[in-house]
């Protein structure tokens, strides 16, 4: 635009490459910022020993610098930021879900194996109950505990059991001065807390007498480990000699008689989570009814909202209707409400005894809208109709206005009545643009968790059912109920089930879009 001559002779320099123009400096400043943040992130993740994050940051930063300073990668310049965010926010999340679906991550399997071993060792120490005021002493770099037992000062280390300590000064049952070694003050104890907390000083040469240990640095307590970990065989042994072996298929230490130690750890369990849906009879029986209701809910929701939305759109598209603008604005109101809030309001209005619907509209009849299975399903469909028709109304209004008037006129000339004109001319044209939206609406309602959760909470529950799934639970809320509400969080199972739902929705959408393409071919 600015210099036609140079464009004709030499390849044009872009704003961002031409040193004489501000674009270059803007780019330089932006890239400097990106690099600054990137390098900071790399250093920070190095300090935190987060190697995966570090690797990703390095690769991303190098790629960014190459792309924005190279002459070749012009399309990549536009795509790169989007791709980075796509990978971080979409692909990573999906990959993570898929990974978790193959593990037993959840309650009881919260962390890695070393953490489980550490925690089992920690919690299996039986407290002797005897406590002594404690003095921590450093003897040539090695820590030891000094306590007063029966009025006599004693000292011991990890290797040496408690033995009388000569030349110690005792005040109030606490050793306050020693000849050999240095008494640690609280700041030093805190500084070396890992050593102090890990120190076990045997009370005597007999292991059954237990050992002294401290948790706060000022008192020592006798304790006896009830379980001993053997790293070589990867087993825990209790006082009676019972052996708990590490079972790396289930991520838990288990004895021959089936007794397990808690906590376990996270392991990959393969397809167990996927098959549980179908093999666990408690789940599979309710799965079928829930699946049926999910389809019914999604299809009916799309159909009812579309029918009402289209009906209103056709009516208010007619120029003979007065005050169309006001009506249209009013109809959009439910769409402007946050859905979950509206569901909560409806829940209150449908309360049997105190709700607006029964009290005011139905003259105090105690209709159990949300407490009866079928009525609750009806309520859900009706509330979703209220929530959903404005969207369809908007979409259809737009689509109707884009249909050329000549087509309807042509129908009129051919002698078709208004109904015939609508079904044979208007509707097919409308469907071309609206059908993909209907499929999207179906997919949305298939997973419409917030409506179900806020309106009925899935209830009423099947009376006497072995798992807490309600009659109005759709698949996604059923997954939530199974995986979390029972007080036992099973992230692995939840991830697997949501992948199954994804497959179902994906398949249906694929079928739907294939049908839509056929519609387009008709045109």
């Amino acid at each position: 635009m600015n210099d036609i001559k140079s464009q004709a002779t030499t390849p044009q320099l872009s704003h961002a490459r031409d040193l004489s123009r501000p674009g270059f400096y803007v780019k330089l400043a932006l890239m400097a910022l990106v690099n600054a943040f990137g390098v900071y992130g790399i250093l920070a993740s190095y300090a935190q020993e987060q190697w995966a994050i570090l690797g990703v940051l390095v690769v991303t930063l190098i790629a960014a610098d190459y792309i924005y300073f190279s002459k070749r990668a012009i399309p990549a310049k536009y795509l790169f930021p989007g791709l980075v965010f796509l990978i971080v926010y979409q692909l990573f999340v999906m990959g993570m879900t898929a990974y978790v679906a193959f593990t037993n991550y959840g309650d009881g399997h919260n962390d890695s194996k070393p953490a489980a071993v550490r925690q089992i060792s920690l919690t299996s120490e039986v407290q002797g109950g005897e406590s002594f005021p404690l003095t921590v002493i450093d003897r040539g770099g090695e820590l030891g505990f000094a306590v007063v037992v029966d009025g006599e000062a004693r000292f011991g280390t990890e290797e040496e059991a408690l033995a009388p300590l000569d030349g110690a000064t005792v005040e109030n049952d606490r050793v306050v001065a020693v000849e050999d070694g240095e008494i640690l003050g609280m700041p030093q104890i805190v500084e070396r807390q890992e050593e102090v907390l890990g120190l076990r000083v045997p009370v005597s040469d007999e292991p059954e007498d237990g050992s002294l240990r401290t948790r706060n640095g000022t008192t020592a307590t006798t304790s006896l480990p009830a379980l001993k970990y053997d790293e070589a065989t990867d087993t825990f042994t209790n006082a009676e000699g019972k052996l708990f072996r590490a079972n790396s298929d289930q991520g838990v230490f288990v004895a021959d008689d089936g007794e397990e130690l808690s906590p376990g750890w996270r392991v990959v369990v393969g397809f167990d989570n996927f098959t549980q849906m179908f093999t666990d009879s408690r789940i599979s029986s309710l799965f079928a009814s829930s699946l049926g209701w999910t389809f019914a809910f999604a299809i009916l929701s799309v159909f009812t909202t579309f029918a009402l939305g289209l009906f209103l759109a056709v009516i208010f598209n007619d120029p003979r209707v007065k005050g169309r603008v006001i009506y249209r604005a009013l109809f959009i109101l439910p769409y402007a409400f946050p859905g979950f809030l509206a569901a909560l309001v409806w829940r209150g209005m449908l309360n049997r005894q105190f709700g607006f619907v029964n009290q005011v509209l139905l003259d105090g009849n105690a209709i159990n809208w949300l407490g009866d299975g079928n009525l609750a399903k009806l309520s859900i469909i009706m509330v979703n109709l209220w929530l959903g028709f404005p969207y369809m109304f908007l979409v259809c209004t737009g689509a109707l206005q884009s249909i050329p008037g000549e087509l309807t006129e042509a129908g009129m000339i051919d002698g078709a009545g208004p109904i015939k004109r609508f079904f044979n001319v208007t509707l097919p044209i409308l469907m071309v643009s609206v059908a993909p939206l209907l499929i999207a609406s179906f997919a949305f309602n298939f997973n419409n968790f917030s409506l179900i959760y806020m309106l009925t909470g899935g209830g009423p529950n099947y009376p006497g059912a072995p798992i807490l799934v309600g009659e109005t639970d759709i698949l996604i809320s059923m997954v939530y109920a199974i995986s979390f509400e029972g007080g036992n969080r099973q992230y692995g199972l939840a991830s697997a089930l949501s992948i199954i739902i994804f497959v179902v929705v994906g398949f249906i959408s694929w079928l739907g879009f294939r049908q839509t393409r056929k519609l387009e071919e008709i045109m």
């Binding site: 795509l79 919260n110 109950g129 805190v190 006497g464």
Partner: protein, 424 residues
């Protein structure tokens, strides 16, 4: 269409790039001041730990909005003694336990959390809390409170406050209370102008907690206790006594004494409006009744089935993370919490009966003492992780019996027991 989408994505991401730099360092910046973000809760790690003790270091604690002020005050008191800074981070009540379980293994969790005892089972199952030394102090505390924080021989938290439900009487309507529940209902029905003889909140999914005193008076506790008073996994509500209780609430439902439509808020409002001489509720609402100028007394719940009516006792306490890299000062802080001065602060700020006996005896609030006496026979709420499922089956079955959805009370009760047993 596709092209425009990509263009849009690119456009959005360019905008996002401006703030995108910030996402890289989300986990790396320990913020010095308390804020509600999780980054701020990071415990010092690596080289930070070795520097920290110079000034006593920092402990991070999660507390909900009602307790932040109290713990900030305690933090200052503790800091004067030890030089340790207590960083109190506010979290919603319901999130503390769950977020802690998820975050502790990443090393980003707090050193301590303040929460109720009934999550103990889940916390221990996930290995995120560490036992504390409590043997020498246990005698100074209310045994119920200590028992609440004990699991398999280990004590996992310092208890500081206890709460339970009791019978609250509107002294303007009645002045004396009979010894049995049936007589109480008869008395309540005779009161002029009262809509309900007694108010016990329920709601659509039931409320086993508020019916529990009546249930225990039939000798049907949720689980059988062993000789130490600890719960076993054997159901105590199965069998004859449990069935009697189920039939009793069925009768109360038919008589209109119990109603599923009376949720928590409706129940409170009805009592405030003087529609009933009695209500079974906890200390969380009595202050509102007093503020509204009502003259009330707090009494033990009369027995319906012949035995003592014992409510559940809920206990608040502080846990130490087993992932804490500053465990030693954290243990010193929980030691500090078991002193009278700390428990007094928590009482002043929280208004619940302290768990330390010495502090509890000094409480001169008549209503709180009434709750304390009503809870004297109480048992702590069970802590097993399966409890969440038990509550749902339990309340759901009770409400079905009360509103007549399950006409055969005994059969419904047995089904519930079978379903709960299947959870173990």
């Amino acid at each position: 269409m596709r092209k425009s989408l990509i263009a849009l994505a690119a456009g959005v991401s360019v905008v996002l790039t401006a703030c995108g730099g910030g996402t890289a360092d989300t986990n790396e910046t320990p913020e010095p001041t308390a804020s509600e973000t999780t980054e701020a809760t990071e415990s010092p790690s690596g080289e930070a730990t070795s520097e920290a003790p110079a000034d006593g270091g920092t402990l991070t604690i999660w507390a909900d909005e009602t307790r932040v002020a109290a713990f900030q005050q305690l933090g200052e008191m503790f800091g004067e003694e030890s030089g340790v800074t207590l960083d109190v981070v506010q979290k919603p009540t319901g999130d503390i336990g769950q977020d802690f379980i998820a975050q502790a293994p990443t090393g980003q969790g707090p050193d301590m959390i303040v929460t109720a005892h009934d999550g103990l089972g889940q916390l221990v199952e996930n290995g995120v809390v560490a036992p504390i030394d409590f043997a020498s102090k246990a005698d100074l505390f209310n045994p119920v409170a200590v028992q609440a924080f004990t699991l398999e021989g280990n004590v996992y938290g310092v208890p500081y406050a206890m709460e339970n439900i009791a019978l609250v009487r509107n002294n303007e309507l009645v002045q004396d209370t009979p010894a049995t529940f049936d007589e109480l209902i008869a008395q309540g029905k005779a009161v002029e102008g009262a809509e309900f003889p007694i108010i016990i909140q329920q709601g659509p999914s039931g409320d086993a907690y508020h019916l529990y005193p009546i249930q225990t008076s039939f000798g049907a506790p949720v689980f059988v206790t062993d000789e130490n008073g600890d719960y076993t996994t054997e159901l105590g509500m199965e069998g004859e006594n449990g069935t009697k209780f189920a039939e009793y609430i069925q009768k109360l439902g038919k008589d209109g004494v119990l109603s599923a439509d009376l949720g928590g808020d409706q129940a409170k409002q009805a009592f405030l409006d003087g529609k009933s001489p009695y209500m079974i509720t906890g200390p969380w609402w009595t202050s509102e009744f007093v503020d509204a100028g009502m003259d009330i007394s707090v009494l033990p719940v009369p027995s319906a089935g012949g035995e003592t009516a014992a409510p559940f006792v809920g206990v608040q306490g502080v846990y130490v993370s087993s992932y804490s890299e500053n465990a030693l000062p954290a243990n010193q802080f929980v030691d500090f919490l078991s002193t009278k001065e700390a428990q007094d602060v928590l009482f002043e700020q929280g208004g619940r009966v302290p768990a330390l006996i010495e502090s509890a005896e000094a409480v001169d609030d008549e209503l709180l003492q009434g709750f304390n006496e009503a809870g004297a026979e109480g048992q702590p709420m069970p802590v097993i992780p399966e409890m969440a499922a038990v509550w749902e089956f339990w309340g759901g079955t009770e409400v079905a019996i009360i509103n007549g959805t399950s006409p055969d009370a005994a059969a419904a009760w047995q089904t519930m027991n079978d379903n709960i047993k299947a959870k173990f």
